[in-house]
């Protein structure tokens, strides 16, 4: 039986897991609770838990272990805040029809969009933002959250429907 000798107990590997996973985990927690300080606390705690349990958690399972632990920490934490996102200042070159009116409209649209995202149910918001901002694939999200790809797709399309409705009605 060939066993992968990679163990999370090895500091190098642990660090590597941190480098590849912590940003998504942090953003994921942020999309959930809207409080960056708290989100980073959750990331810290999850990685410490991973280290404490490094002998029990197989390398391949480390990702989903982190997300499960962080999610549980989140569930124990009650005070949610509103998710506040920033947006990129648009590069001027991309647009030819740039006039003050257009810019104002865009600005308004971004505000509406951000508000609508903040109002989404947490489960739809996290999936929608992991895909749009963190550019995660459906399959990856399904693995991280321990849900089926179908559920990821459903959350994504529900989020899109909800956003559209919300933005139209404003």
């Amino acid at each position: 039986m060939h066993q992968d000798k990679k163990s999370v107990c090895q500091p190098k590997i642990f660090e590597n897991v941190f480098h590849t996973q912590s940003e998504t985990l942090r953003n994921f927690m942020y999309y959930k609770c809207g409080d960056m300080e708290k989100a980073e606390d959750f990331v810290q705690e999850s990685f410490i838990k991973l280290w404490d349990n490094c002998a029990k958690v197989a390398f391949e399972k480390a990702k989903s272990f982190l997300f499960t632990v962080a999610n549980n920490l989140f569930l124990n934490y009650v005070a949610h805040k509103k998710v506040v996102l920033k947006h990129q200042k648009e590069g001027a070159k991309n647009y030819t029809h740039e006039n003050p009116e257009y810019l104002l409209e865009e600005q308004e649209f971004m505000e509406k969009l951000k508000n609508a995202i903040a109002d989404l149910p947490e489960k739809q918001r996290e999936v929608f933002l992991l895909i749009r901002i963190d550019k995660k694939k459906y399959s990856e999200i399904s693995e991280l959250l321990g849900i089926s790809i179908k559920s990821v797709e459903y959350r994504m399309s529900s989020a899109l429907q909800a956003l559209k409705k919300k933005i139209k009605n404003i």
Partner: protein, 303 residues
Amino acid sequence: MSEKYSNTFLERWMNNSLSEEELAEFKNSVEYPLYQKILDKSSELKVPVYKKEALFNKVQEKIALKKKAKTKPVFIKWMYGAAASIAILIGLFYFQNKSTIYSAGTGEQLAVVLPDNSQVLLNANSSVSFNKNKWEENRNVELRGEAYFKVEKGSKFSVETSQGTVAVLGTQFDVISDLGLFEVHCFEGRVQVENKQQQIILTEGKAFRQIEGKASENWNFSTKKPSWTTGESFFKSTPLKYVIKALESQYNVTIKSSGVDLEKRFTGIFNHKNIEIALQTVFVPMKIHATLEDEKTVLLVKQ
């Protein structure tokens, strides 16, 4: 207002699996620009800047702190006076709760005498831990891997594993707790085995096994000691993967398999002296071709 386009339709759109006609029609619809704009604009959103290094350093600091608190004994120079005595008090407190760990490495066995003269014989790649200072209050050891226990008579003695607890009064028994396998042999006296699903009592010459939480098996045996304490390992219709695990632990090799059914049950013995003979005794009857690729690797191929 009901949505014109269903969730399934949008899912297919985002997956690029709409047919050309569907896509063309969708693009001409009133709704399309808004959907597209939401997707486009949302990917321009940003989260606050991430200071990864800083966070990683915090994690490492906390881990280092924890480590110190758990295992470092306290050495302090007397010149620090009063501060030192407080530190010693704290140190003693940690010491009090520190547990003692014994482990046997690959290919090793280790005999451990517990504070009450009970004996533990650890098989390869196994460890026990217990709290010396609390031993008189409760005789409690934690086990990873496989061990043979000879317990002195006295208060309840319990062996905790990830898969269940074995509790006794004074007896001899063997416990295996390894990757979903939980197996107990009682050699003398009575043993109580308890896990999430059930609680049973084993008497002399009875064995119990449960694999990955599925239905348990019981059988009788007549040996007086576990076979591995006398230089060989005996298996009774055990899934091949656990036999392979035992071989790996015994001989410090990695066994790679391709196309071999690891759930197939094996009954038999392998000895601890010669790896080639051990491989043959296990794999020839299973119709598997085993070759030593180098000193550390064995390759299994179905015949």
